[in-house]
Symmetry: C2
């Protein structure tokens, strides 16, 4: 990128270090930003800094929020007896989008991954157990991803919680709606068969 | 995006207003930024603001640069008798990348587009004419895009310059290298035929 002057090159390489932004997109973004009015650029950088400074974990469910207790945890209309365990705030938002789940969440902010050196103590599992001891919770729905790490984390949490007599469930594996059986992997096909529902 | 708290939503919508960044990418970027150490976030915003404040037009060729005269215009090894006319600084960089063009550039910073209300006076055509009058230039290579607007701009510039006795050329239309004739549009096929070269 020596074809651009230093300040432009540095901007391109900074933008290119963001996830999903390749060199071409970074160039496009950089020139777009250089083309924006000064106020808009300042609003962009201001918003970034403000979010970075103001966003923290909800002290109850550990999702990322700018309040002490997030809007979901502080909503009296949500059912406090059901807690869905998810890996990230984005996974929580994915379930919020469908608008059909009315319980609370617990965001692990990660997943157990021995490969990456992430153990149970590195994610919010201890905090989940504490919550289960303090609050009256009847069901824990484990909605970690359907990856090796997500499954292992689900198993780990399930084994920890079950002895306390709390109902533990796991979101279903199966054919995605609209999916074509021909293109679906064998493990998913098997899980879909095992999890079949009487009609 | 009411599933996220206000500061996060605002960050996502700011990032989503950038070109090529959809809602999903904006969310991914936002959480990546929130996850970065504070210093890295400050470096990112600092680089953006610095580039915005320090980048201006080269006073000779009107490319975007952080100097008065860009590195290409001030390079004594470049041939000052040939000027390639391009639409944007990015187009200039595209030709610089191949490293085979040794002349100078003139960046129009736009293209004549009656649809968008952009006339010849809105892009750097007057400045090109001035340059041709002041400097000893033998050939002008017009390398605007091969779009309707790019072609119209090329024709307009060509008609302005030709009477001064300066050689004017246009980069060739044809089959892209590696291109499959079967999938190439008719106009390109015709241009490739018309522009055939004796072997």
């Amino acid at each position: 990128m020596e074809y651009y002057s230093e300040k432009i090159s540095r901007l391109i390489s900074e933008l290119g270090s963001l996830p999903g932004i390749g060199t071409k997109s970074a160039q496009r973004l950089a020139f777009h930003i250089l083309d924006l009015p000064k106020e808009k650029v300042e609003r962009l950088t201001g918003t970034i800094l403000e979010a970075k400074a103001g966003v923290k974990y909800c002290s109850k469910c550990f999702c990322l929020t700018d309040r002490d207790i997030c809007p979901i945890c502080s909503n009296p209309n949500r059912d406090p007896k059901t807690v869905m365990v998810v890996e990230t705030t984005r996974d929580m938002a994915a379930y919020e989008r469908i608008g059909k789940y009315n319980g609370l969440y617990h965001v692990l902010n990660g997943v157990i991954s021995p490969m990456l050196g992430i153990g149970p103590q590195d994610i919010k599992i201890r905090e989940l157990i504490l919550r289960l001891q303090q609050d009256e919770i009847e069901e824990v729905v484990i909605a970690t991803n359907s990856s090796v790490e997500g499954e292992a984390t689900a198993m780990y949490i399930s084994k920890l919680i079950k002895p306390a007599g709390i109902k533990v469930s796991r979101i279903a594996n199966g054919i995605p709606v609209g999916g074509d059986l021909e293109y679906i992997d064998e493990v998913t096909l098997l899980r879909a068969l095992e999890g079949r529902i009487a009609l």
